[in-house]
Symmetry: C2
Subunit: 197 residues, 2 copies
């Protein structure tokens, strides 16, 4: 039994009855992903969603020039998957890789759908997850359209102070959409400004 966070998540984010929660937890498998290993590679169809119990994953793409673009970090308590790939059964354009040794719970899509069909509170739970996802993506787009590198970095430090300490800076840069060199300069600049005041 390691699905502690997931059980917590379910009880605070759904109205599932204990028996149903139990059934779900029993049905779900878990997986250990070693640091550096991949759970999904571009070209493959994504099959399942992961819920991270422990550790940290990254969700990213590689463009035609070979550059990586980090769409999402997934630390404890977060979900990762290419939902579009799962739902439409398309090959994914993204990679999911462990940045730390990671324990995760595998949520099988068809099983989740079955549950949603049978139980209304489960459907509502699913709905909530999707809406959360949409909100997050929309905020990200708005941020990318409206904020400078420095503003995006400051926003990042506010929202994910923990992640900042756990991943190499070049990945934060890749998340922010700037080069590692630029991030280094942004940080230097901020440090100097903070020092003066």
């Amino acid at each position: 039994m390691i699905e502690i966070r997931f059980a917590d998540f379910l009880s605070s984010n759904s109205t599932l009855e204990p028996t149903l929660m139990e059934a779900l937890l029993n049905r779900c498998k878990n997986v250990h992903i070693k640091k550096g290993d991949f759970w999904l590679r571009a070209g493959e169809a994504c099959q399942q969603t992961l819920f991270v119990e422990n550790g940290l994953l990254r969700y990213y793409s590689i463009d035609d020039k070979g550059k990586e673009h980090l769409l999402q970090f997934a630390p404890e308590g977060w979900f990762v998957s290419d939902r579009a790939s799962i739902f439409f059964n398309e090959p994914s354009a993204y990679f999911i890789q462990a940045l730390e040794d990671t324990e995760a719970i595998i949520l099988d899509e068809s099983f989740m759908l079955d549950l949603a069909k049978k139980d209304v509170s489960f459907m509502e739970f699913n709905n909530k997850l999707l809406h959360n996802h949409i909100r997050q993506l929309q905020n990200r787009i708005n941020q990318l359209l409206s904020a400078s590198a420095e503003e995006r970095y400051l926003h990042f430090t506010r929202i994910y102070p923990d992640i900042l300490l756990r991943v190499p800076q070049l990945m934060v840069a890749s998340y922010l959409g700037i080069t590692p060199e630029s991030l280094s300069r942004v940080r230097k600049e901020l440090a100097q400004r903070n020092h003066k005041s």
Copy 2:
């Protein structure tokens, strides 16, 4: 009866039985939004989703420097709403405004949820809409992270050739995340290159 596109959309994107479709169509109200008028303003809670039968809407934000950032165009056959605002009942940070005189169908969230609870095929339909939305947002983020202004413009012309002809260029620029001046230059550059070859 003007909900022609919506009926079409339902029959090709859902497995709803005719009687249910009928019930849904009868229940939905429509709205006429005059060019320039707003359906949603930042600060308000978004209450319903619109399906555009005819015309064109824009979904955008205004940042602290007063600049507009266009998140989405909604021409015929598209949905618009701030789903996060509806679902979580938060004030929205976005505006929805008509760029042309627009006929749209109002989809009431609580009614949709009721339907989803009662009918599985309706739940699946809802699910599909949400996943479509997620796919679109994710693509957009990836595009913003990885492509230059010119690449984004070319992508736009491929995906939305019709919209390009219907809206002022400055709005396309706002969608692409660049200034109108830059877009003008990108277009000039492309025209010259095409002319030579």
